[in-house]
Symmetry: C2
Subunit: 240 residues, 2 copies
């Protein structure tokens, strides 16, 4: 069995029982080193194969090798294994090996764990967009930002910056500002569920000039999103 | 403490440790009867207040009353408490009572649990849209469908039908077909994680004529989404 396991933001408490059991039952654990370290208490005595950033293909190929050799393998992903996680790549790499039994174990993704910290930003229709243009043309990212903003979606931005992409959030906000008001309620959460967690509620115009890093998740409200007792809340439309 | 708890699709294994503990630590549990029944093993001996469908406001007001009276309350939501869940409404109802301590506990939402069953449909940018027009004007839903389709998002549809809205999925597909190819890979999952679970992978043109109910979650791929060994997979763009 090859389990592609979403562990959520990182802490034991935010893992599902299924994810915990899949890791416990595995004899081989693979993943990005930072995420494997988050579950170190669960993997004592197991064979561990880690790769660094951008080692995704190597990591999944190694997981396939172990599974083909008959091991129970847990491939660890942060957040949800299916949301920008390794599930798609892993299933692709196993395309010629349908005999390998696989399961995708979902977990709490950053849009949810971050949203819960901010309040309830995702109570209505939302779009999730990664600002990383490593694997996606920037023109397509721009098109999606513009479409989601014009249709008044709540927008969640993953990977809003990196060392080489310092101004991407500012560029994204510029596009979104063509359609959303400058006082649209926005939120950001950094290091969700980990040491150094911090959150901030702000406006779209201020967000444009806010420095962020790759461990930050950004939330841009819809036209109805508001602040209630310091929480970011998107109403569903219930009559009180 | 008032905990707004996402329990995921329903089974114990798909709950997070935090959600399980919040329910165990509560002395009062409230929720929609179907969802409270899913956690019946955890709530023996506790005070329980259930409402039926459309009882959302009553349920949250009651939860507030219990919390104001000093109880530890768990308000149960299926999926994620923040994704079309009760978190937003609950925080709104407590607007004049900032003294009530609240926490939102995220859980696995249907887009994730259903996605994991189908394979990895959400490995790239996606939009989540509810087709219910009980609380949202249909014109806005149409605008969002059109925007998400035109920008080649993967689209997840919640509440695709009800007794009174039998043709809404067909209407939504008609709008999406203006921008996405008729052979776009689509998937649907019914009764996720519960008795009677069933899944199906199909195309957009066939989806248009597929009957669904309110317990079905619908996935519409992007232009790159494909089928690998019977699984619905949206590639992220890695070079192999």
């Amino acid at each position: 069995m090859l389990s592609i396991v979403g562990i959520g933001p990182g802490g034991y408490d935010d893992m599902t029982v299924r994810a915990i059991n899949a890791i416990k039952n595995a004899d081989v654990v693979t993943g990005y080193r930072l995420y494997v370290d988050l579950v170190s208490d669960l993997i004592k005595g197991k064979e561990v194969f880690c790769t660094e950033m951008r080692g995704e293909v190597e990591r999944c190929k190694k997981a396939a090798e172990f599974a083909l050799a008959g091991h129970n393998v847990a491939l660890i992903c942060s957040g949800d294994a299916g949301v920008y996680g390794m599930a798609g790549l892993m299933l692709k790499i196993l395309e010629d090996h349908p005999e390998v039994e696989t399961e995708v174990i979902p977990g709490v993704s950053a849009c949810q764990s971050g949203g819960a910290i901010l309040g309830a930003p995702l109570s209505h229709d939302f779009s999730v967009i990664s600002l990383s243009d490593l694997l996606t043309p920037w023109a397509l990212i721009e098109q999606r930002l513009e479409a989601a903003a014009a249709a008044d979606f709540v927008i969640v931005l993953y990977n809003p910056a990196s060392h080489k992409r310092k101004d991407y959030l500012s560029r994204a906000c510029g596009i979104i500002l063509k359609h959303k008001s400058s006082d649209t309620i926005c939120g950001l959460v950094k290091n969700i569920g980990r040491d150094g967690q911090m959150q901030q509620i702000t406006t779209l115009s201020e967000l444009k000039d806010t420095p962020v890093d790759m461990l930050t998740t950004v939330f841009i409200g819809n036209s109805q999103t508001t602040v209630i007792n310091g929480k970011m809340v998107t109403p569903r439309g219930y009559k009180l």
